[in-house]
Symmetry: C2
Subunit: 161 residues, 2 copies
DNA sequence: CAATAACCAACTATTTTGGTCAACTATTAA
DNA sequence: TTAATAGTTGACCAAAATAGTTGGTTATTG
């Protein structure tokens, strides 16, 4: 089992998407700026999120990504699963062939741990996260620090005019 | 955070040690045979376990390793920590500087998850594991399949005689 | 003294992570 | 219709971590 930046990035990006929903699709470039995640890496992650039908994409100018369901319908475990970071703590993938065909001494311990983690993460939805005060605070800070590409283009339009 | 064979091997080996305690020190060669873990890799893991005072060693013939405390005094979290597999799910090591000096959008989520996992694992002692029926079953199978080096030497002594 | 088994250091193969780069396709605004 | 935007795909890459191996040394016991 592993939980590295891959899974964390995916959850963070999905939460960013949830927070900035409502004003049309959100571009990966905006998420990249706000969350400090490389654009090309985000592309890879969102390809997987799309294949798992957690998001849908809109191409062309003004395009970007949108959540494919309501925020209450998406939980953290699903997002992590989607980017292939299994929350499985066993070495055998629950098959029980950890030691030449049979189960190893600690097989059931890792099974128990796996369901513990999965239960915890699957009970937390994007909607839950959005309501948290610490999340709202950080989101406000990020919005202040990074204008979206939309606002950006408005400003350069003014400057040009 | 990561939980790979390293942490699993460490817990498995410690449990093997607990199960075969009472008949003097247990050699790494025996653990290697029974649990199917490479001897030299075990050496590296036990160096760390010893530095963390979870085991003590006895050198020379008939030597090996022993638990440094009672089985109830050693929990799974301690063993995993000892081999440097942190059960920390945050990217910043709880410092809160995940995004250029400030906390990232999902910092508190990973903190919560970390303590969830740590609480779970620290409540399970080696003594608890030994009582489990699935552990006892697997241990019996392993003892049947692999004679200890002690029993082995008894047999070869008979053959020689 | 010889066998045993812990101890130690250095090296290696493989996998995973976290990316980059280039080429391509679909959409829309001018 | 054409340029710009933005997603899509695949190949590639460097660094780090994992899971070892090799080749010793030191301490202990029979």
């Amino acid at each position: 089992m592993r939980l590295t930046t891959k899974g964390r990035y995916a959850v963070t990006a999905m939460l960013d998407l949830a927070i900035h929903a409502g004003k049309g699709p959100v571009s990966l470039a905006d998420i990249s700026e706000r969350q400090g995640i490389s654009l090309s890496y985000l592309e890879q992650l969102f390809a997987k999120l799309r294949r798992n039908e957690l998001v849908r994409s809109v191409r062309g100018p003004g395009g970007g990504y949108q959540l494919n369901r309501e925020q209450q319908g998406i939980n953290v475990a699903q997002v992590i699963d989607a980017v292939n970071e299994s929350v499985d703590a066993t070495g055998c993938g629950h098959t029980g062939s950890c030691q030449d065909g049979s189960i190893c001494l600690t097989h059931h311990l890792w099974c128990d741990l796996s369901s513990q983690i999965h239960d915890f993460l699957s009970q937390i939805t994007l909607a839950d996260l959005m309501e948290r005060s610490d999340v709202r605070t950080v989101a406000k800070r990020q919005d202040r620090e990074h204008l979206s590409s939309f606002e950006d283009s408005l400003i350069s339009a003014k400057v040009t005019a």
